[in-house]
Symmetry: C2
Subunit: 190 residues, 2 copies
């Protein structure tokens, strides 16, 4: 790929990321982005169809990164039977989110995280699914439960950010597992 393309693409991503840590997504204009990225208007639209597509790609990159690492851990360890695994993975994800603090804060900060959250939830659903397969013991529908777990995770992240990421990932993972019924069994055996 052309070196110029990479550079502009990176410049746009970087500018967008910077802006997200300052103001919320809806308030950011394309003008803001191209000013900060120092690229032409035409160039922006050559790379990204709309501002939404840019966000979409940023989210994809971010989650791909965060979850691939988490899933690497999963593949190097034999995960299916180790009882503390959910805790390990959750902690990992939280660490990676904290590393990307700058990006996610702007997206989640109070308003307009819909797109981000939809992405996030999608990844989480996929992520949590393996832990759910044999948990039909609860008297609630499967998709209600998975929705509840993923939603609770996201909700926790928002709480975390509002608290300015004071809580450690380990402690947060504890809280999460303590409050989610499906995983309670696992954690209480420790």
């Amino acid at each position: 790929m052309d070196r110029r393309q990479q550079k502009t693409r990176q410049a746009i991503f970087h500018a967008f990321s910077e802006l997200l840590s300052v103001k919320s997504y809806t308030k950011i204009t394309v003008q803001d982005i191209i000013d900060m990225a120092n690229v032409g208007r035409t160039t922006f639209y050559a790379h990204f169809e709309t501002k939404d597509h840019l966000l979409r790609e940023l989210c994809t990159d971010l989650f791909e990164h965060v979850f691939s690492k988490a899933l690497n851990v999963e593949s190097t360890h034999d995960f299916s039977l180790t009882e503390s695994n959910p805790h390990v993975f959750i902690t990992h994800i939280l660490y990676h989110l904290r590393d990307n603090k700058k990006n996610i804060i702007g997206i989640l900060n109070c308003e307009s995280g819909e797109l981000f959250l939809r992405f996030f939830k999608q990844y989480l659903n996929e992520f949590f699914t393996p832990y759910m397969v044999n948990k039909e013991c609860h008297d609630v529908p499967y998709d209600f439960l998975i929705n509840h777990i993923s939603g609770s995770f996201i909700n926790m992240i928002q709480w975390w950010i509002k608290d300015d990421l004071q809580t450690t990932p380990e402690k947060l993972a504890d809280y999460f597992l303590a409050v989610i019924p499906s995983f309670c069994d696992n954690i209480k055996e420790n």
Copy 2:
């Protein structure tokens, strides 16, 4: 208050409500609203500073209504010691939400429910607080827990709407209580 004011205000609210059941909040323009409400542009801005303020007021009205009814039940019954109360109240709220289906769907439908959800959560926090006072038994911070419960409720509503309100309020209240640890104790004694 001037009769004309009431009429236009009501017309705007009604138009807005109608539009919300057709298209999502962000897609609705002020032009749409004043066309449907059949009022002048100036009039709209005389009543509401911005479109956001209109939504804000609509939300306030809605929640005021929903929760006041729920709290009425609370005051007529002796709530503090009846074990099935949480279930009764939650069911009530769900019924009222279903009655206002038309309004909330447009706001929550996929995008841009931030404002609504913030309001909702605020009310829910207040609502759930009395049930929390003596529940420090869990090994998670109090505000984490209340955030988790309110968040789970909202998350459930979104699941419900996506499912086109198929589930009955009673069943949904069951699911909710089954999945929320603080209330598990109550429900399991039945």
